[in-house]
């Protein structure tokens, strides 16, 4: 770690060179990885096409579990998206210094994750060709969507989140795209020129941009809370035992941030190494992420505890039975993976040696990702397979089509992220320069 301290950039041009240097023409291994991901994506897409042509029966969903891993993946990806906005918007408002070097990549993660999450309701829909029925427009059927339904809330919330996140990410990049434009030639210069919208960095532009950016961050912040609360209400507004619980909104938001931070660790640790960004994304930043994960892990643990306590305290036999079954029934292995990975895993970060070690950080990141995926599985599938009436209980297992589409979604995410790393500045150039400015005049 000490070597990187010495080579911390000390001037604006050094900062720019380190970051934009990461965009140098990539080697074969990079293109190999991109093509691999592309294959995964195409495989997933073709499985989806197969499902559309053949019918939903190829997926494992059936009575009583009508919501299977498509919805698990939906919630998983929306969750991942939230911590990107937490880092880029909320930490900006809180003036947390450590956010600067990772905000751009985190925000990119958000945009891609929301895009993928938005696909899953379509995939789950069955009759995908009538998706437009949820859009409120005057139609021959004389029908409007039911604004009381949490699914319509979802539609509004996710589309708002996608719009706001992508615009926030793009606007944040304008000065950097201008920098790229100024140091490129030919076609590259044209393209970056178009995308930078002619940004010149005049004081008038900075004046409006600065105020607007603060306002963007102020808008993105309540979205972090509200979007995942809306997603949680897809479940909590039902009366399914194990779902109908008032704690779902904060519980899901904390869980989303927890899984998202884990994904940030999983992505950023290889990225900083492969792109040579170690002087800018230092271990202190990663340590701060680890410490935040201890907090979110504790909140998630608290929620597990409270749900169990209230299930007993309420005296509601259905609720209590569902929770016993979660721990000891058919899906018990998934349940215990969930508890150990989500709660015990991050507690390792209480030890300083672990939270400053890159390998451990990466490993715990993966562990928490797995745990959080299983948490959504246990909540969604676990509750639906064991509701009120015993003869309606049933077991669900995902089919190969569902698993392939899931693989496709992960490939798509990696594909987009790899492209991001090489074509767009992965760290915010002008914000890092501002760091130098405030830490001793450059």
């Amino acid at each position: 770690m000490k070597d990187w301290q010495a080579s911390t950039p000390k001037s604006y041009s050094e900062v720019q060179e380190v970051i934009l240097g990461a965009l140098s023409p990539p080697g074969r291994s990079y293109w190999g990885a991109v093509i691999l991901c592309l294959f995964g994506l195409l495989y997933g897409a073709s499985c989806w096409a197969y499902q559309i042509l053949t019918g939903m029966g190829v997926a494992g969903i059936n009575h009583p579990v009508n919501w299977g891993i498509y919805l698990v993946n939906f919630v998983f990806w929306v969750g991942i998206a939230h911590s990107g906005t937490l880092i880029s918007a909320i930490l900006y408002l809180l003036r947390a210094r450590w956010r600067t070097s990772i905000a751009r990549a985190a925000e990119a993660m958000t945009v891609f994750a929301v895009m993928i999450a938005g696909l899953f309701p379509f995939i789950h829909l069955g009759r995908v060709w009538i998706f437009y029925w949820i859009i409120p427009y005057p139609n021959q059927r004389d029908l409007w969507p039911n604004f009381q339904s949490p699914l319509v809330f979802d539609f509004l919330a996710i589309s708002t989140y996608l719009t706001v996140s992508s615009m926030f990410w793009y606007m944040g990049m304008l000065p950097d795209l201008a920098a790229l434009r100024d140091q490129s030639t030919g076609l590259k210069r044209r393209i970056y020129g178009i995308f930078s919208l002619g940004w010149q960095g005049t004081h008038i532009q900075w004046r409006h941009y600065g105020t607007a950016y603060l306002l963007f961050a102020a808008f993105a912040t309540p979205l972090v809370i509200s979007v995942h609360s809306v997603v949680s209400w897809d479940f909590a507004l039902s009366i399914v035992p194990g779902w109908h619980s008032t704690i779902f909104a904060p519980y899901f938001v904390a869980g989303a941030i927890h899984s998202g931070l884990a994904m940030v660790l999983t992505l950023l640790i290889p990225m900083r190494g492969l792109l040579g960004l170690q002087p800018l994304i230092n271990v202190g930043t990663l340590e701060s992420i680890a410490k935040t994960m201890v907090l979110t892990g504790l909140i998630v643990g608290y929620s597990y505890g409270v749900e169990y306590f209230m299930a007993w305290y309420s005296g509601n036999m259905f609720e209590w039975d569902t929770f016993i079954w979660r721990a000891f029934g058919h899906y018990a292995p998934q349940f215990w993976v969930m508890v150990v990975c989500n709660v015990a895993g991050p507690l390792l970060f209480l030890i300083k040696a672990i939270r400053t070690n890159l390998i451990w950080l990466f490993a715990v990141g993966i562990i928490v990702n797995i745990g959080m995926w299983y948490e959504r599985f246990v909540i969604i599938v676990g509750s639906m397979s064991h509701e009120y009436v015993p003869h309606a209980w049933g077991i669900y297992s995902p089919s190969w089509v569902e698993l392939s589409i899931m693989l496709g979604s992960f490939s798509m995410f990696l594909f987009l992220f790899l492209l991001f790393c090489k074509f767009v500045p992965p760290v915010s150039v002008f914000e890092m320069k501002e760091h130098l400015w405030t830490h001793g005049k450059a």
């Binding site: 809370i225 008032t246 909104a249 749900e307 209230m310 305290y313 005296g315």
Partner: protein, 403 residues
């Protein structure tokens, strides 16, 4: 001046005792409980704010540290008051006279009060240690003490802060379930504990804003609580207004939507039926509506009197909110029990807090000079702790200096 809080306490005690000897003791116990849970939220929440600011390395709020820590002085009295609450458990809690099937052993007076006193005791002790380290560090620094000792005290504060944070979250949840939720033992809300402790943090922050307004011009603060600190305080208050409102709405929406009678009974009583629905609207406006709109304005946040006034509205709203949680479930009522007796008890609790606050502030330096985050931003101050400490009206100027 010093006698005023004492008079207030006597008034409160008298109102309360008159109430329990009257025809409806549960009404008096109800107002006792309301004030108790309100002030517990503020006091525990205040010291938890110190812990939170320590853990997040927040340097903006350092001048507010002592004002927030001062609430630790009231905690032992709150412990005593919860112990005294035991005497009224038959008037308040239906499960004491009619044990609830399935929960007999959990909702049983000795066990319940035992665990609650344990929880409050633990929070009080950890808060005391945290504040003790903080105050000692400042005193040592001012007397030109050993740097390593000062730094060690800071390390101890860093270690104690997360402990307090966890204790607060879990402890306040248990208190909420036991003291408030069990008033209607068939009603359950998984978010209730969270709602109570977030509301406590919100009220504590509003109380801190009021204290900052009252003390920011005093010599002891040396002008360190300036416009930018108020601005940040206002922004945080706004954020917590949204968070508490969100927690309220999460409970409300889920219960409204599911429409399950065991759950809706509690909410309908408070929001739809006479006479409580009007109180509910006042709470909505005072605790959430007015602060939300007011705190949007930058000018208001930076103006100490305006921020202080908004914070007072928040405190009033949150007091009424606790009132609305507790009182409808305490005995059958046709009228809102808000009379002179209730005012008296409320004044009593407020006076207790003021008295403890005053006692504490007279004995400590008012600026956290031994805190490295304070030092980093404002440099070091030195001198006689009590000169830096400032003086409260009516206290003797000499004072004691601990060696």
């Amino acid at each position: 001046m010093k006698l005023l809080p004492l008079a207030g306490i006597v008034l409160g005690a008298a109102s309360f005792l008159l109430g329990i000897r009257g025809e409806d003791p549960s009404r008096a116990w109800g107002s006792y409980l309301v004030n108790l849970v309100f002030w517990m939220g503020i006091c525990m929440g205040s010291v938890t704010w110190v812990a939170i600011m320590n853990m997040t390395n927040a340097s903006w709020g350092r001048p507010l540290k002592r004002l927030a820590e001062a609430q630790v002085a009231t905690m032992p009295f709150l412990w005593i008051l919860v112990a005294l609450l035991y005497a009224g458990h038959r008037s308040l809690y239906i499960w004491s006279t009619h044990p609830v099937h399935g929960k007999e052993r959990w909702l049983e007076a000795d066990f319940l009060f035992g665990r609650d006193l344990l929880v409050i005791g633990a929070m009080t002790l950890v808060s005391y240690f945290l504040v003790h380290q903080s105050v000692r560090a400042d005193e040592e620094k001012l007397l030109g003490g050993d740097e390593t000792s000062v730094r060690l005290r800071w390390r101890r504060q860093i270690l104690l802060s997360p402990v307090l944070g966890i204790l607060y979250g879990v402890g306040m949840s248990v208190l909420a379930w036991d003291l408030i939720m069990s008033l209607d033992p068939h009603w359950v809300s998984t978010l209730f504990g969270g709602y109570y402790f977030m509301g406590g943090l919100y009220s504590a922050l509003a109380w801190l804003a009021v204290l900052s307004f009252l003390f920011h011009r005093r010599e002891g603060i040396q002008g360190k609580i300036d416009g930018s600190v108020f601005h940040d305080l206002g922004k945080l208050l706004f954020a917590f207004c949204l968070v508490t409102g969100d927690f309220f709405y999460s409970q409300f929406l889920v219960i409204w939507y599911g429409n399950i009678p065991e759950e809706t009974k509690y909410v309908i009583l408070r929001v739809k039926t006479e006479p409580w629905n009007s109180v509910a609207w006042v709470v909505l406006a005072g605790a959430f509506g007015i602060p939300f709109v007011a705190l949007l304005s930058r000018k208001l946040k930076m103006s100490p009197p305006l921020l202080g006034a908004t914070a007072l509205v928040v405190l009033g709203g949150m007091w009424l909110e606790r009132f609305l949680l507790v009182v409808p479930s305490v005995g059958a009522r046709g009228q809102i029990p808000l009379g002179w007796a209730e005012v008296g008890v409320a004044v009593g609790f407020l006076s207790l807090e003021i008295m403890c606050f005053g006692w504490f502030m007279e004995r400590v330096p008012w600026l956290p000079v031994g805190d490295p985050l304070f030092e980093k931003r404002w440099g070091s101050l030195s001198g006689d702790p009590l000169e830096v400490g400032g003086h409260l009206p009516g206290s003797n100027k000499g004072g004691k200096v601990r060696g």
